[in-house]
């Protein structure tokens, strides 16, 4: 039993990171129909640039915040330079385009940081043992910060006028333009939000999973699977999808074979796309953002 709980706790903290990445996919896709395959790179850039800042003597929390800022700027630049100029964006075009951006970003990271992986120092606090289950302080930080971020994102979309304007663009793009909401401005805000979310995932995961030039690849794909579980348009679905994926991976690695861990996401993706392409959690039409 305590084994099981141990796997679940480890799975939840890994899943929280997927949930953050998944929310980024949803933020962009729901507003602009773009599937951003560079979402994982946002996390890698955040981890690596936070490492650069701490190397330069910047205190850890400040370095993390600066990394968020760097990634938000990268995300907005990406939207402006690579996405906005495309006249007729379709989801397929967006996949090819963002795959290119993702590859270019990875190459750039390899040039700057080299191939070795490094971990950011963990956030302060002592590890706990509750009922035979050991919980690392960093895992508690991950769960806590993810919870706060998820609530903040939900409040942003449900309560603020800007968040509602983004939902309006997602639901009725023509009507949104007619009331004066610019789809390009909306897409820029969506990319900034997605950049911030990916960056939070990157700085939180770095102490546990290490960050290197290509660590965005697997993280991005798993975030995508998590977002797909929620139908790609639901923030709540993305959070739930991330947590479920994390726990399933952890249980598979624990009870079956740790070699199968990374296969879980893709088996799940195939099952979902065949059985429930609209997402597992919630009804498609109601679930938008």
């Amino acid at each position: 039993m305590s084994d099981f709980l141990q796997f679940v706790v480890a799975g939840l903290s890994a899943g929280a990171v997927y949930a953050l990445v998944a929310m980024g996919f949803v933020a962009i896709f729901s507003v602009s129909g773009v599937i951003n395959l560079a979402q994982g790179e946002f996390a890698a850039i955040a981890g690596l640039s936070a490492l650069s800042f701490t190397d330069a003597g910047v205190p850890l929390p400040v370095a993390m915040l600066l990394a968020l800022l760097v990634v938000a700027v990268v995300a907005v630049l990406m939207q402006r330079l690579a996405i906005a100029p495309v006249r007729r964006m379709t989801t397929l075009v967006s996949i090819i385009l963002t795959l290119g951006v993702s590859t270019a970003l990875k190459a750039l990271l390899l040039l700057i940081y080299g191939p070795q992986g490094r971990g950011l120092a963990p956030l302060p606090g002592s590890d706990l043992v509750i009922g035979g289950v050991s919980v690392r302080a960093q895992e508690l930080w991950i769960l806590g910060i993810t919870a706060v971020v998820a609530v903040a994102v939900a409040v942003f979309y449900d309560r603020t006028v800007l968040g509602k304007a983004l939902r309006a663009c997602a639901e009725q793009p023509v009507a949104a333009r007619l009331v004066g909401i610019s789809p390009k401005a909306a897409a820029t805000v969506a990319f900034a939000v997605a950049g911030l979310l990916g960056a939070v995932a990157g700085v939180l995961a770095s102490p546990i999973q290490l960050t290197q030039w290509d660590s965005g690849l697997l993280l991005g794909l798993k975030g995508f699977v998590a977002a797909t579980l929620g139908g790609l348009v639901s923030i709540r679905g993305a959070v739930l999808g991330g947590l479920v994926l994390g726990v399933l991976e952890s249980l598979t690695a624990g009870y079956v074979d740790s070699g199968y861990r990374d296969a879980v996401a893709f088996v799940l993706l195939i099952v979902v796309l065949v059985a429930r392409p609209g997402g597992v959690f919630g009804r498609h039409a109601e679930a938008r953002v």
Partner: protein, 246 residues
């Protein structure tokens, strides 16, 4: 006839890709005037409104709004310049509440919080049915209420020009009467210039001051509804069948 302060299309041409839909249309609505635009399917009614509001760029001709030339500007700019386009099929924001739909209608004036509240009161006066539904998701409203919300959303920006695309579509005659009566009030009380595209010719002609009949991208007839109703071509084309007189 002059639309110095209203909206005016001069010799407007527009279409989709290589398909030319408007082949030189001139229509104008002055403040305090309802102009009905009628015509068969494919005559170019909706395309005319899309060209007025900037959803599609005209290939030739001019669009003037409040005396200023807005030809070729995007819908966001034209909305900010005072034209509200109430689109076909209402297109309310379905998961947002009625109240949020109205708030977003004032997007171009979102910094004026006091004006927003006042405007909302005014819109709810015109459409009291919406007042009971403010907290409800717009997608759960009846068709008539969604149409009222779509018009109300347009009014939130304090437009000087209101253009409507088939507001009567799919609605019961009683609801159509209610909505068209409100359009009449908006003309007189707000001094709006209103362009009303309709298939329901009888209902549109009741409220309209002037009317334009489109045919395959050109203006076929223009005049006062009363005279047009007597015209054989209009009779045959639009009023010949078993239209319910509303």
């Amino acid at each position: 006839m002059s639309a110095e302060q209203g909206v005016e299309a001069v010799d407007l041409q527009a279409g989709y890709g290589r398909i030319e839909v408007l082949r030189g249309i001139s229509v104008a609505a002055a403040p305090g005037e309802v102009v009905a635009v009628v015509g068969a399917n494919g005559a170019g009614k909706s395309t005319l409104l899309r060209a007025l509001s900037g959803l599609i760029a005209p290939t030739a001709g001019r669009v003037r709004l409040g005396g200023a030339d807005v030809t070729g500007r995007g819908p966001e700019a034209i909305a900010a310049a005072g034209l509200a386009h109430v689109p076909e099929n209402r297109l309310v924001f379905p998961t947002l509440t009625v109240d949020d739909n109205l708030t977003l209608g004032a997007w171009t004036r979102r910094r004026d919080k006091a004006g927003l509240r006042e405007r909302r009161e005014r819109v709810l006066e015109y459409f009291p049915r919406l007042a009971d539904r403010l907290a409800q998701a717009a997608g759960t409203l009846s068709g008539g209420e969604q149409q009222m919300l779509s018009i109300g959303r347009g009014l939130m920006a304090r437009p000087s020009v209101l253009v409507l695309d088939e507001p009567s579509l799919g609605l019961a005659p009683r609801v159509v009467r209610e909505i068209f009566a409100t359009l009449g009030r908006l003309r007189t009380e707000e001094g709006l210039a209103i362009v009303l595209v309709e298939q329901n010719v009888r209902a549109a002609f009741k409220v309209a001051d002037r009317a334009t009949v489109l045919d395959r991208g050109r203006v076929l007839l223009e005049g006062v509804p009363k005279d047009l109703l007597g015209d054989d071509r209009v009779q045959q084309a639009y009023l010949g069948g078993g239209y319910a007189v509303s």
